[in-house]
């Protein structure tokens, strides 16, 4: 069960795996996620589905090493198996529910940041299959952290890579990139932003100003992922939603990102302690995929 058919390092800390998970690949749609465990006593880790092959019965997972559990997961090799994979969980992307002809009329832009670039891929691929065009902005701290650029070139209308330090593609963060595209004369009717919370927060501030409705994908702390624990509570406007069953995608203009960032730190010291136990003193910084 859940055998790993291939494994690639996209960067030093971002890993891609193709895994057998027939029940997931049969039914999953862009926007949905799975929960995995990689050992008998392991933590339940939510991961967005990056790609799927219904015929082969496989899904593709992309994750970043951010804590003790993802570090253990990164040690899995081709031929090894996950102990558990459950899904697809959450609601499919709003795009999947929309009328195809209506979608074709829209100018769509995706903003993908860090490891959040991975869950953007199946959405753009799904659109391409339906004959719908979309632009994609891929943002990363530096050249070495840019992932899936070639994959996106096959499915997106235009791909704009931008790095914080200017070491590759355009210079600046995703907001700088979006603003300059607008300044260059581009118009967009809808934006889908997936990445670190801090990136989504600022992307949404900009799209509000630009008047571009924006969907974001939340990746909060979860235990079961089926609506049972409520750890993933997120304020969307005045309402409290469960990201696992009501989301993970929400109207970005309404999400309380400051609260989400605060809740993300709930177990930070404990995780740090577990990581240190695992690494004995080495100071490891997993990038900001999980700010």
């Amino acid at each position: 069960m859940y055998k790993i058919l291939s494994r690639t390092n996209l960067t030093d800390i971002i890993i891609k795996m193709e895994v057998e998970a027939k029940r997931v690949s049969d039914r999953c749609l862009p926007g949905q996620f799975v929960i995995v465990r990689c050992s008998e006593d392991g933590e339940r880790i939510p991961l967005t589905i990056c790609d799927y092959d219904r015929e082969k019965g496989t899904i593709v997972l992309v994750f970043q090493i951010v804590g003790a559990s993802t570090k253990v997961m990164a040690e899995l090799k081709e031929g090894d198996s996950f102990t558990d994979i459950v899904g697809p969980l959450g609601m499919p992307s709003e795009l999947c529910e929309m009328d195809i002809e209506e979608l074709k009329k829209l100018n769509l832009v995706f903003i993908a940041g860090g490891v959040g670039t991975a869950p953007v891929y199946p959405q753009v691929k799904w659109l391409k299959e339906k004959g719908i065009k979309a632009d994609v902005i891929i943002g990363a701290r530096n050249k070495d952290l840019v992932i899936l650029e070639d994959d996106f070139k096959n499915v997106a209308e235009n791909v704009y890579v931008t790095t914080d330090d200017g070491s590759y593609g355009r210079n600046g963060n995703v907001c700088v990139c979006l603003q300059s595209l607008i300044d260059e004369g581009k118009t967009y009717d809808k934006c889908i932003a997936i990445g670190p919370l801090i990136m989504m927060k600022f992307a949404v501030q900009l799209t509000k100003k630009l008047g571009i409705p924006t969907i974001v994908s939340m990746n909060p702390i979860m235990v079961d992922g089926t609506g049972m624990c409520g750890a993933c509570r997120v304020h969307v406007g005045d309402e409290i939603k469960f990201a696992c069953i009501d989301g993970p995608e929400f109207d970005g203009w309404l999400v309380d990102f400051d609260e989400a960032m605060r809740r993300q730190t709930m177990y930070k010291t404990e995780e740090g302690r577990k990581m240190l136990e695992l690494e004995e003193g080495a100071t490891h910084h997993g990038g900001c995929g999980n700010c």
């Binding site: 049969d26 392991g42 933590e43 459950v86 079961d224 049972m228 624990c229 409290i240 809740r263």
Partner: protein, 462 residues
């Protein structure tokens, strides 16, 4: 040993102040000698009232007579005809309102300790490798059961005994439902008791597929139309936690009892080496007065916190079992009764620092017969805590009803099902347990699973 016929033979328990610091089982259970002494108190009534109080109608006087005579294996055979989970029921059933509540001995003295005797027999059976017996040869007809909690396991076990090819679909990575994620180790040991009873159900031929969220991974329509199942039983429980909708509920340090207990019980975060973290709290308020609230409170206590139960009604109205309240008090849980939270206060970093409450008084009885609590004006006060655990009950997950054609639910999102058969509004689909009733007890869910198994058998045989 000497027996006072008016009183139960006392059962040995871990010392309160010792057990408050560990997760080992509180109650040790009877020895053979104690069980036989207690069994001797049974009057073996011809018209046994106790059986009428049992949702799965165990032949109670029958198995107790066998204990008296020392035939424990036969006692087990009698129980296992009616119950798939005797070691669980002997521990967590509310016997005082069921079998023991109707015991004739209870009129003048104390009822026979039926629960502890059931537990004794079940534990003996596990130690001696006794298994339930199959009644019929396999008939190859496939039936799907959704959820591996008490109702699902019971329904699956009964159908397998009748010869059906049963598959249970479980959403989590481990089978057992609330027995695994909800009820703590110190009340219901997971490996020694729950896992063994599930093994017994599997020994009847029941298959369990974990990691299947019905409604997402597969739908009921697909199970019936594509995977060849002739009937489906829904025992998916009541898993969605309720919150109070008061300010401050998304502060860091506010949890549902479901989350807190799932971390500790299913993910084993009470163990230092578990990769799943749990909040290291100093002072905890558990809001609510049911069994789940007691479980959450006693778990937090064992993890080293000072724990307050905050409940809006009085002691008599506590919905938890008397035994659980008694155990909680013995261990040092503080009960702030007639107290209701109105707000959770955070510090400047967004972590819980206090819970603001009002004092309550009881007014006239409401429709449920319970006296309804009313806030006393101007009685606001703060309890300094770093953690708040909301234990206000749960409701069924709408995922299955949302994704199944023709399956109707009521206003409370519970699946509509016939009382004695579990028959839903969709042909071939049956339901029982908390998914139908809303949060209730293990044994009521088992009773519903049992009734549905009988109805499914009749439906298939036409």
């Amino acid at each position: 040993m000497e027996v006072d016929v008016m009183k139960k033979v006392p059962v040995r328990e871990q010392e309160p102040l010792v057990r408050a610091k560990n997760f080992d089982e509180v109650c040790y259970g009877y020895t053979l000698e104690e069980a036989q002494a207690e069994a001797s108190r049974c009057l073996n009534c011809k018209n046994a009232q106790c059986m009428k109080g049992c949702p799965v109608s165990i032949d109670i006087p029958g198995f107790i007579q066998q204990i008296k005579e020392g035939n424990i294996e036969e006692a087990y055979n009698i129980i296992s005809k009616s119950s798939a989970l005797p070691a669980v029921c002997g521990r967590v059933c509310p016997q005082e309102t069921q079998c023991e509540g109707k015991c004739i001995r209870g009129i003048k003295g104390e009822a026979v300790s039926i629960g502890k005797l059931e537990r004794f027999v079940a534990d003996y059976a596990m130690e001696h490798g006794l298994k339930p017996r199959k009644e019929n040869e396999p008939n190859g007809i496939k039936v799907a059961v959704i959820g591996s909690g008490p109702s699902g396991l019971t329904c699956a076990g009964d159908l397998a005994k009748k010869g059906y090819d049963v598959t249970i679909f479980e959403a989590l990575h481990q089978a057992g439902g609330v027995l695994v994620y909800g009820i703590p180790e110190f009340r219901l040991p997971k490996e020694r008791v729950v896992a063994k009873e599930i093994e017994n159900v599997k020994a009847l031929g029941v298959k369990i597929e974990t990691n299947v969220v019905v409604g997402r991974s597969v739908t009921i329509d697909e199970l019936l139309e594509k995977e060849g199942f002739r009937a489906v039983f829904i025992g998916s429980g009541a898993g969605l936690p309720k919150f109070m909708n008061i300010p401050g509920e998304t502060l860091n340090g506010v949890f549902s009892a479901n989350e807190y207990l799932t971390r500790s019980n299913l993910m084993k975060s009470f163990r230092e080496e578990s990769p799943t973290p749990i909040m290291k709290s100093k002072k905890v308020a558990v809001v609510g007065g049911g069994n789940v609230a007691m479980d959450a409170a006693r778990t937090a206590l064992r993890l080293g916190a000072e724990v307050h139960i905050v409940y809006r009604r009085g002691e008599e109205e506590l919905p938890a079992r008397v035994e659980e309240v008694h155990h909680a008090k013995e261990e040092g849980i503080i009960f702030d009764l007639l107290t209701n939270p109105v707000e959770i206060i955070g510090d400047d970093k967004g972590w819980v620092k206090a819970i603001r409450c009002v004092k309550m008084e009881l007014g006239e009885p409401d429709e449920s017969g319970r006296r309804s609590p009313q806030a006393i004006e101007g009685s606001e006060f703060d309890i300094d805590v770093d953690t708040v655990i909301m234990s206000l009950g749960t409701s069924p997950n709408p995922l299955i009803s949302m994704t199944t054609k023709g399956l109707e639910i009521n206003k409370k999102k519970c699946i509509i099902a016939e009382e004695n058969t579990g028959k839903t509004t969709r042909d071939g689909v049956y339901a029982g347990g908390d998914a139908v009733t809303g949060a209730a007890t293990v044994i009521l869910a088992m009773g519903a699973g049992k009734d549905a198994a009988k109805a499914i058998d009749e439906f298939i045989k036409g």
